[in-house]
């Protein structure tokens, strides 16, 4: 009875909202492209040190060198090359963490939401327990005890950041489970596996995509924080957090050493959040069916 109302709701995404989404997509695409092929385009090597050429400023300041458009760091390594490599690390960590935490959280949430009863009690208990754990402290503790490394960071964050996936997956599964098409599939004799994978998951996927973008941004920030504290990606890998840490000592004289990776981090996280918000706006106008 409400065809015109549906038309009306879709039209409510404002122009600002749509611009934000577009901007976010552009930002993330540019950074992703840079991460993939950037280091091939920039001649400098991010790891080669040149101690005679330390702390050369970037192109908008005096004393800049044309072959180092973003200057050099305290060991003479080309900053642009390091920045681009760092993008690769941030994105890699973001994606790998989201895949890990997504698999854990979605499985738990869907299973708990669909089966209910004792199974759901267990899932809720797991979620509540996880929510009472201070993520950053645990991450610090794990990495502190077991040493730093890319794989370890991904594993730690992946095993800690699944809660929002689980909560959203559980809530949406519980809503979808009561819908008639799931009942019809049940009556048609479809296996539980089919119902979970083909009837429920595709219909909650859009909501999970929104969670994925936001968790990715969080993972990237957390990794930067860990690396800043020296407990994340080990040097000489140019994680942006590590670059910020290394630039700490030169903060007052060569502020750009911190500013550049900081701005890059901010831009990437902003872009991802804009994409997530945009997705939520697009999908929020759909009733959960």
């Amino acid at each position: 009875m409400s065809a015109p109302l549906v038309v009306v709701q879709a039209a409510q995404t404002t122009r600002v909202g749509k611009t934000g989404f577009a901007v976010g997509i552009v930002i993330v695409s540019v950074i992703a492209a840079a991460a993939l092929i950037g280091n091939a385009l920039v001649p400098a090597d991010p790891f080669v040190q040149d101690l005679g050429n330390r702390l050369k400023p970037p192109f908008w300041m005096e004393g800049t060198q044309p072959e180092h458009p973003l200057g050099t760091d305290q060991l003479g390594r080309d900053y642009l090359a390091r920045l681009i490599y760092g993008a690769r690390i941030s994105l890699l960590i973001g994606i790998m963490t989201v895949i890990t935490s997504g698999l854990i959280g979605i499985t738990l949430g869907v299973v708990g939401g669909f089966f209910g009863g004792r199974v759901d009690d267990v899932v809720l208990f797991a979620i509540t327990t996880r929510l009472s754990i201070p993520v950053v402290l645990v991450a610090l503790a794990v990495v502190g005890l077991m040493g730093s490394g890319l794989g370890l960071v991904v594993a730690t964050l992946g095993l800690l950041l699944w809660d929002r996936f689980a909560v959203v997956a559980r809530a949406t599964t519980m809503q979808v489970r009561t819908l008639d098409y799931v009942s019809a599939a049940w009556c048609a004799g479809a296996s539980t596996r089919h119902i979970l994978m083909k009837e429920i998951l595709p219909n909650i996927a859009s909501h999970l995509a929104v969670v994925a973008t936001l968790e990715m941004a969080l993972a990237i920030l957390l990794e930067a924080a860990l690396s800043f504290l020296g407990l994340g990606v080990p040097p000489p890998l140019p994680s942006w957090g590590l670059m910020i840490a290394e630039g700490k000592d030169y903060m007052f004289f060569s502020a750009w050493v911190i500013f550049i990776p900081g701005a890059a981090l901010f831009t990437l996280v902003l872009g991802i959040n804009l994409v997530g918000d945009g997705l939520r706006n697009l999908l929020g106008t759909e009733r959960l069916r």
Binding site: S183, A184, A185, C187, A188, G189, A190
Partner: protein, 316 residues
């Protein structure tokens, strides 16, 4: 004529707790329901919210397990069947055409699902049967390639009917199949259901709150109130001579499109039926205009009336 389905003393209770500190309440959604439907017949089940007709449908379809009671489908014990066996015998058509089709799958795949799930049909056989049933319900092959959102309400309901019939079941449970459709489309779907029943020898259990539709469609009607069947009879007999006061009130409140007759006073009073608080004695007595003392205390037993009829009332 043998019975396609026989339900005996079917019962379903729920335990509901409203709030952390509130005591648990017993909701008896379906209370000792017994009926049988002959092969090729249509049993209409009518009643208002809280009467348990949807719960009854879900019990028969296997979406809910009964607390107690049995059902026989062509001699087999229904609740002992596994889902695939049950799927070959009983299929549903639900009310809301927008919610009964998976919005992320093509219509063709949705209709093929019962065949897929059996695991015994070849891909070619599935394709043939799907094409056949789509045509039979009035959908083109091209519509089968679309997503549900691209079909109208009536077309979606046809797709739901196609899905229900593709496995050639014997019994179809129609739970308000036309209530969410426009009047002009409703008639199309009802006509389709009638044709299919004749051609395929189906048996229907047709649940509806729309008495006019039930009168048109059913050969026998059962009236449910707060979980029990309070009256059952052949359709014409029930509509001509309703015996239970609730049936009478129900029929009186149907607004036929006859101008100038005003809105009748059905005389039911203000008390709303609450399945969690079933009154003692006859469960209808707080709203009954002819209730006597006995009704408040003693629940009436089902009594046979006429060849097919049954009523549960001290005064009928």
């Amino acid at each position: 004529m043998s019975a396609a389905i026989e339900v005996v003393n079917l019962r379903r209770e729920f335990r509901v707790r409203s709030g952390l500190l509130a005591p648990q309440r017993h909701v008896i959604a379906v209370d000792d329901v017994t009926f049988s439907v002959p092969t090729g017949g249509v049993l209409g089940i009518v009643g208002e919210s809280g009467c348990g007709k949807s719960t009854l449908a879900r019990l028969i379809l296997g979406l809910l397990a009964p607390t107690s009671g049995t059902a026989l489908v062509e001699g087999k014990r229904l609740f002992a069947l596994d889902r695939k066996e049950r799927a070959r015998l009983i299929q549903p058509v639900f009310q809301d055409p927008f919610a009964s089709l998976n919005p992320r799958r093509k219509v063709r795949d949705i209709v093929a699902l019962p065949l897929d799930a059996q695991g015994t049909f070849s891909a070619a056989e599935i394709e043939r049967r799907v094409a056949q049933i789509l045509e039979r319900v009035g959908l083109s092959a091209e519509m089968g390639e679309r997503m549900p959102a691209q079909l109208s309400g009536g077309q979606r309901q046809r797709a739901a009917i196609a899905r229900a019939l593709v496995l050639e079941p014997h019994i179809v449970i129609c739970d308000e199949p036309t209530s969410a459709l426009d009047v002009s489309v409703q008639a199309q779907i009802l006509n389709l259901l009638a044709d299919l029943r004749r051609d395929l020898g189906l048996t229907y259990i047709f649940i509806s709150h729309n008495l006019a539709v039930v009168e048109h469609v059913a050969s026998e009607v059962a009236v449910m109130y707060l979980g029990r069947i309070v009256e059952r009879n052949e359709t014409d007999a029930l509509f001509r001579e309703p015996r239970h006061p609730y049936t009478q009130a129900l029929l009186a409140s149907v607004l036929t499109p006859e101008p100038g007759r005003g809105v009748p006073d059905v005389g039911l009073g203000d008390v709303m039926p609450d399945p969690a608080n079933i009154p003692p004695g006859c469960r209808f007595h707080p709203r009954c205009r002819i209730a006597i003392e006995r009704c408040r205390v003693e629940p009436p037993l089902p009594m046979a009336r006429g060849a097919e009829g049954m009523v549960e009332c001290h005064l009928a």
